[in-house]
Amino acid sequence: MPSRILIAGGGLAAQRAAETLRARGHDGAIQVICAEPVAPYDRPPLSKELVGTPFRPAEWYADNDVELLLGRRACALDVGARQVALDDGAVGYDALVIATGSRPRRLPALVGRPNVLELRTVADAERLRSALTPGARLAIVGGGFVGLEVAATARRLGADVTVIEAASAPLARVLGPSLGGWFAALHRAEGVRVEVGSGLEAALPAVAGAPVSALVLADGREIEADVVLSAVGVAPETRWLAGSPLAGDRVAVDPCGRTVVPGVWAAGDVVGGDHWEPAARLGAAVARSILGLDVGAAPPASFWSDQYGIRIQLVGSAGADVVEIDGSDRSFTAVLRRHGAVCGALLVGRPRELPTWRRRLADAATERKAA
């Protein structure tokens, strides 16, 4: 059994790996490389409440002999020497968990502008919160879940909000045009300007390094702003793996989180997902795999979003070709079908239906396997 376990990254997958290692009896060293200067925290509240919620009280780490290397960054991996180079020094390991998460994608037109923010860390959330004074004009580039949640939060704080989405509707690429249209209508009813169908072309003034005063879309529309949030998705944080056998745009793993390199596992956004449940589950699975324990099958994953006090949940997989909606405006179930078979459901204001749907999808998957 490996004695020194090193976790590169300090998010959800890292936390769950550390907890499961201790809960399942690992008594050797656990070190966690946290790029941020704070103990691991939960990220969903960043866009919902503009705060990060610590996973555990501060003393948990000392009580469980989990060493946090705060404010340190993994810079390179040497699989031969079993060593991770940090920005200052290096750490050896017997088993390594790569959990460096993801980083926001950036649009060239918005790089280097002081009033363009992104939302990935608790420091980002603090900056955004302080910029959202009542009446501040916030332009959100990207109508995905993060952009929409921030729109709802910013409205609650009294900001004047515009969401810009290049597709025909927010979330249209994930949920299709009819559900995307529902999200557009919801946000418009709450006083958000929703500008769809045209991508960002430029930021004004056209002076490098100057604060943005307005955004120009490809079709000529212009949106004035005091602050801009760039929310156009994330990419796995794999840059530090350049030159190692795991270099690439994501780290490939098996269902236990094992990579192709002996002694190296990976979990969380870095393996190519960007949702909470799979990250939590794989973080725990990796710990079990390191300890030689069995890893159980995962139930169909769900994802949740909170907007204007409405709980929105997606269970199963999106990418439906047919959507059947049952219910009223702010409380409905959308059944997602692909090639005739139910592949998932979007629940709006119906949290108690989630377990039923998860079961239904699990049963359908079992039947498909048996067939």
Binding site: A280, A284, P299, S302, W304, P351, R352, P355, R358
Partner: protein, 68 residues
């Protein structure tokens, strides 16, 4: 063997799957709380189904956690 579930309040997200599987054992408002006892099978099923993996199951006789 009698198995007792324990909900980790820091990990529970209030999904409600446990209460759907074992309504006599769990109640979910903001987060899940244990309100009663159930058969070992139903307790294990609920714990394994938790999407946040927030339920630990302990053998009442030994106090040891059970492998899920």
């Amino acid at each position: 063997m009698t198995l007792l579930p324990r909900v980790d309040e820091y990990s529970c997200c209030g999904h409600g799957d446990c209460a759907a599987i074992a309504p006599h054992v769990f109640r979910v408002d903001e987060i899940a709380v244990v309100t009663g006892e159930g058969s070992d099978d139903v307790v294990l099923e609920a714990a394994r189904a938790c999407p946040a993996m927030a339920i630990e199951v302990v053998d009442e006789a030994t106090g040891e956690p059970v492998d899920l």
